[in-house]
């Protein structure tokens, strides 16, 4: 060794492993328009499917006349429920244990519901024929309000199960009731509330919204009648689960089904579920023997595929006079639409809503969730969050604010005195979770200092005086949030989807020349897996990240996994990747010892090589070892260098963060101007700071959208009012504020590399932070709760109802 020999630090840096701000390897193709999405697939003889959809939210389907549609040149078939019934495919199971109509079977339950599937030789003919399918409807009474749906005389929505007293999650007590899910100690909580010094009570509504990936949902189904194999390309966030479900419901043997998720243009939970379009495309391909493509348009996406939220959360929070929280009570009415098509782990019909005690040490709590059917689209997916975690975070962060008002206390201080302390971890929450790690006080103080919290409050007070003196019409709001997520589902002992344990996997092959390919059971939709998972491996096995190919999404080649959503990829598949890497290293150690002619225990790992202990100049690099694995006959060791790991996480991970938003509100127009947004995230070990920053920016912008305008709204007749991007708010760069990102690092104690997941934190924390800022601006005038989204007229309406326009 001499001066030119790279140091260990230099060697480590050249690997671009964990901690490196490596540029995203995916971006070269995406930014040059070279991505390969489902709709880019073109195949010989491919047919196109398109749906006839219901204009009514609740109606009986009296008849369907296909004749005129079938006469359109190029139209091959028009499928209805009657055609699917002999195959028993007119209904399909949902991920939530309910079933859903594939095509209207006698009635429709929401506007936009699939009624018939037209198959034609091109898209244009299909669209023309859709117009010509004549459906006769008989309108029925519509219920869009989940509380009215539970009235004794409410119309029966689901006639198929009207008399069933048991649902997938226990007893049903009304024909429009789906389930009741209870957690915690009801009696103890109610006793604490009855005796408390102070109780704040509020209804917190988290409105219905919808993920809005750039690419809508779609698929291409191709049944090869010669070999009996079905290939299904699609926008699937969980390709293996789709394969298993497809096999179970179609009867096609699982080895004869190949599911491929090509590049996916964003998912955000929208692409987890199974949609009628997939089933119809498969059936159409089986019937015609030709590939069939179905890609929904934006309006179809917004009106029919999975929505998010729509939780009415009635809360009570009890505290001592000094502000120490003594108990939390929550009853949620969950509007599920016409079918329960939530994508939650089976045992959690309301997802992880029981993380609603948040970052606080709350001795007793009780949560009950009632799922209800209404005449709205089905869904209830985790829109850039782990299952119902943003609902939970919004609930607790609003209740804290309301409690602060009740106590006449500063909301930052109220949080501080109630945080779970660093030495309480692992912490068992009153609603049953074991928080793995956290250091909330450190993060909180860092955040408050960073924004100059005390000065902001002074400025706000001065502004208020000016406002009262008639010198300004702008109020200033300071939004605070400290959130705790629960991600990385999850331990097989309590997490499964349709009976499939929620482990994940990684398989690695090291090539003779020392480069590698790794395949995972997850699928990136923009998260940058090909970049970050290669970094994990680079650090684990000493091969440069640039020399590692990462592949996901093809069920014929990738190991089985449950896919990407709920921030589970890094916590679960990332762990599998590290563990598979460690298996590689274990074998590499034996090979190195053999090559160096020492005992296995006499070599030690050193960044990218094994060196003889005490003689670092005697070493074999991973590259040397890889070559040896393929060209040397080593006694007692099989040739090759491969490993696979299926990782069943021992616990969830609990990322957290402290966010602060400052905004100005024009009380006369209802316009808001976000002056600054500070986001401190603690996601444990940081694999790629640049990707984290990108994820935080994206998630905050989606949070901004949801808090400030984005909604799926219906009128009383069940007509969707926000079915296009003109009315469904997606912010442009113009509306998007500048974000300041920051971090603390509290590694997960049980994750192999201490990582926790970050992609969804900004949405979970961002929504309450924006909303709290709006509320905070009006706090001096007596505002307690005003439901999102805080668009111009609703903000104006707050000001108006508080008399600020008089």
């Amino acid at each position: 060794m001499n001066d030119l020999t790279p140091t260990a630090e230099e060697r480590a840096a050249s690997l671009k492993g964990i901690g490196s701000t490596r540029k995203r390897v995916e971006d070269a193709r995406f930014t040059q328009g070279k991505g390969n999405y489902v709709d880019d697939l073109k195949m010989e003889g491919m047919l196109f499917g398109d749906f006839v959809r219901s204009p009514y939210a609740h109606a009986r389907v009296v008849s369907v006349d296909k004749e005129a549609a079938l006469a359109v040149p190029g139209v091959v078939a028009v499928l209805t429920a009657e055609d699917l019934a002999p195959l028993n495919l007119h209904w399909m199971p949902t991920l939530a244990g309910d079933k859903q109509m594939v095509l209207a079977d006698g009635k429709v339950l929401f506007q936009g519901q699939e009624v018939a599937f037209v198959v034609a030789s091109d898209r244009y003919a299909a669209a023309d024929a859709v117009e010509l399918v004549e459906v006769e409807y008989e309108e029925l009474e519509v219920v869009v309000d989940p509380f009215k749906a539970m009235a004794p005389d409410a119309p029966v929505l689901r006639e198929d199960i009207a008399d069933e007293k048991e649902g997938a999650h226990g007893p049903r007590r009304h024909h429009n009731h789906i389930f009741t899910w209870e957690q915690g100690d009801k009696d103890a909580t109610e006793a604490v509330i009855a005796e408390a010094d102070v109780v704040a009570e509020e209804m917190v509504y988290y409105h219905r919204t919808h993920p809005c990936p750039l690419e809508t949902c779609g698929c291409v189904a191709s049944m090869d009648k010669v070999n009996g194999k079905l290939t299904l390309w699609g926008t699937f966030q969980a390709p293996h689960a789709v394969r298993t479900v497809a096999s179970l419901i179609s009867g096609i043997a699982e080895h004869n089904i190949r599911v491929i998720s090509p590049d996916i243009g964003g998912g955000f939970g929208n692409k987890v579920g199974v949609y009628p379009g997939y089933i119809c495309s498969v059936v159409a391909s089986i019937v015609t023997g030709k590939p069939v493509k179905w890609v929904e348009d934006r309006m179809e996406n917004l009106m029919s595929t999975a929505f998010a939220r729509d939780y009415w959360m009635q809360g009570k929070i009890a505290a001592t006079k000094e502000g120490k929280i003594t108990g939390l009570w929550c009853h949620t009415t969950a509007d599920h639409g016409g079918f329960d098509a939530c994508a939650d782990p089976t045992k959690f019909p309301a997802g992880f809503m029981n993380i609603c005690t948040g970052s606080y040490d709350i001795p007793v709590a009780y949560l009950a969730v009632d799922g209800v059917y209404t005449n709205k689209a089905p869904g209830g997916v985790a829109y850039r969050c782990s299952f119902r975690v943003t609902e939970a975070a919004y609930f607790i962060e609003r209740m804290i604010e309301v409690l602060a008002i009740e106590l006449n206390m500063d909301a930052a201080e109220l949080r501080r005195i109630n945080f779970i302390k660093a030495d309480q971890f692992p912490y068992n929450s009153a609603l049953g979770w074991e928080y793995d790690s956290g250091d909330y006080h450190t993060a909180w103080d860092k955040a408050l200092n960073a924004v100059g919290y005390a000065d902001l409050r002074k400025e706000q007070a001065a502004r208020l005086e000016e406002f009262k003196a008639g010198k300004t019409r702008k109020l200033m709001g300071i939004g605070l949030t400290h959130f705790t997520e629960i991600v990385g589902a999850g331990p097989v002992k309590n997490c499964d989807i349709l009976g499939l344990g929620m482990f994940d996997s990684c398989e690695i092959r090291i090539h003779p020349t020392g480069s590698a390919i790794a395949r995972l059971g997850t699928i990136s939709q923009g998260q940058g897996h090909a970049t970050t998972f290669a970094q994990i491996l680079a650090s684990e096995i000493g091969i440069p990240a640039d020399d590692i190919t990462l592949e996901e999404g093809d069920t014929d080649t990738a190991p089985y996994g449950l896919g990407t959503y709920g921030s589970r990829s890094t916590p679960v598949a990332g762990a599998a990747t590290a563990m598979a890497g460690r298996k590689i290293r274990a074998k590499a150690q034996m090979i190195a010892a053999y090559l160096l002619e020492v005992h296995d225990d006499d070599v030690e790992w050193d960044v990218d090589r094994f060196a003889v202990k005490g003689a670092p100049e005697r070493f074999k690099t991973m590259k040397d070892i890889a070559f040896a694995a393929y060209n040397q006959a080593i006694p007692g060791i099989e040739p090759g260098l491969e490993a696979v790991s299926y990782y069943d996480p021992p616990n969830m991970t609990y990322p957290f963060g402290a966010y602060i938003c400052v905004l100005d509100i024009d009380v006369d127009t209802g316009e808001t101007d976000i002056r600054s947004f500070y986001a401190l995230d603690d996601c444990g070990t940081r694999i790629n700071p640049m990707i984290i920053e990108g994820q935080v920016h994206g998630g905050l912008t989606e949070a901004l959208a949801i808090a400030m305008g984005q909604e799926i709204a219906y009128d009383d007749m069940g007509n969707i009012k926000t079915g296009t991007l003109m009315d469904f708010f997606v912010p442009t760069s113009w509306e998007t504020p500048h974000y300041t990102t920051d971090h603390t690092t509290t590694p997960s104690p049980h994750h192999p590399i201490g990582a926790k997941g970050v992609g969804e934190s900004p949405n979970v924390g961002g929504v309450p932070c924006f909303s709290n800022a709006v509320h905070d601006a009006f706090r001096p005038f007596g505002l307690r709760q005003s439901h999102m989204p805080h668009d111009h007229w609703r903000v104006w309406n707050i000001a108006n109802s508080l008399g600020l326009h008089d």
């Binding site: 898209r123 244009y124 669209a127 023309d128 117009e131 348009d297 934006r298 309006m299 006369d668 127009t669 209802g670 316009e671 305008g709 709204a713 009012k721 926000t722 003109m726 009315d727 708010f729 912010p731 442009t732 113009w734 509306e735 668009d791 111009h792 007229w793 104006w796 309406n797 108006n800 326009h805």
Partner: protein, 284 residues
């Protein structure tokens, strides 16, 4: 989002386009930038057998100012309105308003003619043209005629233009004095919650003339003569501005939509007009 099928025509001059319209009858429609029409076709709210594209008609393009009169060819894009220095000199309010329309992508394609001929109450140009007291020149099988913008709009998507007429030119007098185009919208690319176009001239400390038009607050643009009159001869004190706002509120007739209920729209219309007047007066 796929339109029904149609035949596509691309005449080279106005006469050819008019001839096509007369010959094809009510199943034909002209297409300019397509940024109002194509979305309607994709939604199948407009189903047309024939599209007559005006892109190749050079005589319908361009901006000129002669003897204090501004002439704009109907096929001039909104982007060109923004970038024309001649126009900015002669009527700066047009640039200020054009900047509030949609986004750059839409403005590269969308034309002033399409914007004013469309008859969509959400479009910004019709109100602006009423404020400017513009003249629309229409050419049909029987020749050309002029219509004032202030009497062109009948109801949503209904104008004085006959089916076989083409709007060829828009003209108005160059402005002096103060101007402002104020628009509240939910986001970039959105139509107005409320918008106000204001032109004022000053005579010493008093307002000499005033023209006020409001957008997306009725099923047509609203030129509020009374609002303008309330300002003339005053020093634009609070009472005068309040009177103008009150007069404007009588003339508009907003409806509830996703932007908000009527009370909100009325309130915002008042605030927006108030601000537009203040800004225009500052510049007068």
């Amino acid at each position: 989002m796929i339109p029904s099928s149609f035949e596509y025509h691309r005449p080279g001059d106005v006469a050819g386009a008019v001839a096509l319209l007369s010959q094809l009858g009510e199943d034909a429609r002209v297409i300019a930038g397509g940024h109002s029409l194509i979305p309607m076709m994709k939604l199948r709210m407009a189903a047309l057998e024939h599209l007559v594209d005006l892109q190749d008609i050079d005589e319908m393009k361009g901006i000129s100012v002669e003897a204090g009169r501004v002439r704009i060819g109907a096929m001039t894009t909104q982007h060109e309105l923004l970038t024309s220095d001649v126009l900015a000199g002669a009527a700066p309010i047009v640039r200020e308003a054009s900047l509030q329309i949609a986004d750059p992508q839409v403005r590269y394609m969308g034309t002033i003619g399409g914007n004013v001929a469309n008859g969509d109450p959400g479009n910004d140009m019709p109100g602006l043209m009423q404020c400017l007291d513009a003249t629309f020149t229409l050419q049909g099988p029987d020749g050309t005629r002029d219509v004032q913008a202030r009497s062109f709009y009948e109801a949503a998507y209904m104008t004085d233009r006959a089916d076989e007429e083409i709007l060829t030119t828009i003209s108005f007098d160059a402005t002096d004095g103060g101007y402002a185009y104020e628009k509240q919208k939910r986001k970039i690319g959105d139509y107005a919650t409320a918008a106000a176009a204001v032109l004022l001239t000053r005579d010493g400390g008093n307002c000499a003339s005033a023209s006020i038009a409001m957008t997306n607050l009725s099923d047509t643009p609203v030129w509020s003569e009374a609002a303008g009159a309330a300002l003339v001869g005053t020093a634009l004190d609070k009472a005068a501005v309040d009177a103008a706002v009150a007069a404007m509120l009588v003339d508009i007739d907003p409806t509830e939509d996703n932007r908000g209920p009527v009370a909100f729209k009325n309130h915002v219309a008042g605030v927006i007009l108030d601000r537009a007047i203040a800004r225009a007066w500052d510049r007068a």
